[in-house]
């Protein structure tokens, strides 16, 4: 960026700034590289000193990957994670987005739309351990322990408020004039929502979907509490493996990579609106 502040800087301070930025890149990269490196090492190469560069210093092998991908439970957990993540996201958007639109466009008689929004937000910031017992008991009573439906039910509850708050903020950016023009042309309220507001908010909708999905994918407390085998997601699987296997470098590396890859890769494609979404709309842009 060409601004006065940067141009007027001494070369030494520019150098320091660039150095800090590069250090930050390395710091961020280290765990990723460590995991990738360990995932392609043989068990003996792991503890060899100076085995850093593949092919040159050690012979890479896919044994660890094969072992994990041949484990039916690992595959099952990846599948559960994906299914629960997608299911929750779909459901949350389905009932949260209309509510968000309603709060963005209309006022209510007794309570201000803003106060309803804050009420939704209050649900989001509560520490989840508060409802650990009641949710466990609820799921146990309905026979939903260790089921996908049970997890989707819980995750929908945690993410619905988020979706309402953030989508309301996005909908408020859609010009009212466009909507009113459509109304004049005879479009119904539903058509205005479905055919105008929603398509115009698509970017925001995608970011919301991504954040909800990432939350479900990464959630550990309830995943480990209410699942054991059938519906166990990746966090539950990793926590379980950690206690049965102890420190296993290959296994940890491969599972870490499998577990973090989907949301991290997706995040590269939804950069716009991310800050806004994660701050509940407190940051514009």
């Amino acid at each position: 960026m060409d601004n006065l502040l940067w141009r007027s800087s001494k070369w030494a301070s520019k150098l320091v700034a660039m150095l800090i930025a590069c250090l930050a890149l390395c710091w961020v990269a280290i765990p990723f590289l460590w995991a990738i490196g360990n995932s392609i090492k043989s068990r003996s190469a792991i503890f060899e000193r100076g085995a850093i560069i593949p092919f040159l210093q050690f012979t890479p092998t896919l044994d660890a990957w094969k072992e994990v991908l041949n484990d039916p439970q690992a595959i099952n957990c990846l599948f559960s994670s994906a299914l629960v993540g997608v299911g929750t996201t779909a459901f949350v958007l389905l009932i949260g987005t209309p509510a968000a639109y309603s709060l963005a466009r209309f006022e209510f008689r007794r309570v201000k739309s803003k106060d309803i929004t804050l009420w939704f937000l209050s649900q989001r910031v509560m520490p989840p351990v508060v409802v650990l017992s009641p949710f466990y008991i609820l799921l146990a009573e309905f026979g939903l322990i260790d089921t996908w439906i049970g997890l989707i039910l819980l995750y929908s509850t945690f993410n619905l408020a988020f979706c309402v708050v953030i989508m309301r903020d996005i909908f408020r950016d859609v010009s009212k004039d466009v909507e009113e023009a459509a109304r004049m042309e005879g479009a119904s309220l539903w058509q205005v929502f479905w055919m105008i507001a929603l398509p115009l908010s698509l970017d925001g909708l995608i970011v919301t979907a991504f954040i909800v999905f990432a939350f479900c994918w990464n959630e550990a407390l309830f995943a480990s509490a209410v699942t054991s085998q059938h519906a166990a997601t990746m966090p539950a699987f990793i926590l379980a493996s950690r206690s049965t296997r102890g420190v296993d470098f290959n296994f940890a590396a491969v599972n870490t990579l499998l577990a973090i890859a989907p949301p991290v890769l997706m995040s590269f494609f939804v950069q716009r609106y991310l800050a806004r979404g994660l701050s509940f709309g407190a940051v514009k842009g």
């Binding site: 765990p31 509510a99 508060v130 550990a220 990793i238 577990a259 973090i260 509940f280």
Partner: protein, 294 residues
Amino acid sequence: METIASVQSKAERGFKYALLAPSVIWIIALTFFPILAAVRYSFANYVLGEGITAYVGFSNYARLLTDSGFWYAIFITVIFVGITVPIEVCIGFVLAWIITIGVPGKKLFRPILTAPLFTMEVAIGYLGVTLFTDQGGLFSTILGALGIHIEWLSTASGGLAAAMILDIWIWTPFVFLMSLATLSAIPNDIFDAAMLEASSHWQVFFHVAIPLAWPVLTVAILSRVLEGLKSFGLPYALTSGGPGTSTQLFSVMADLTTIQFTDFGRGSAMGILYLIMVSIVITFFFKQMRKRID
């Protein structure tokens, strides 16, 4: 005309309530009733399969409040948040500032520096075991080569420090992302004008950048504190709460009490007490959000 308007507004009323109702009902049914249920369980003895066997008054609470383990968990959780959040805020903001004012390659830095934010805490915790173990772990090997030996995973302070380092790795990007969005939205002219007036970069940083970004920074800090107080996956996967119970952050302890030991009465009381304590932070957060939401 009047009749058309009133028909329209009637349709509008039906429409807006129909859109809002499912979400409101869902949250009431699945958040407010569960919290009430938690209050009820906290006064009871709950046995899985049998239900509430007896109401025990305040005894769950009394036992917790006199249990040093409970206070220890709260203490280390507060320490955990108190150390990680300031570091995350400082590093995140400075990085955002450096990249806003001119380090080339913003398009490259932003996605890479925010990537840790979307990693799974449990996975990073488990990977952290291999980073910090003294049998061939990366950190121990590097520090060992420098002659420094730290018992990361076999002591309480080492385990907490390791968890904090990884927490900082994951969450600094959050502050970075917020700060970058805010600083980028400030017109360049403002910094240019400030630079002409100010004698040094530091003055621009402290007297222009920080004050302008402060409102968003407060929201970021409070969000971080609230999320930090919920920390579960990372410390649990890294140390399993050990050695002993010395690195059990609050959520880890509550989870073990409730799920492992199936003591739902005590677990509920823990949750309710925690909610009361955390509500101080929640109040501050709401004051800020009230200003930011229109």
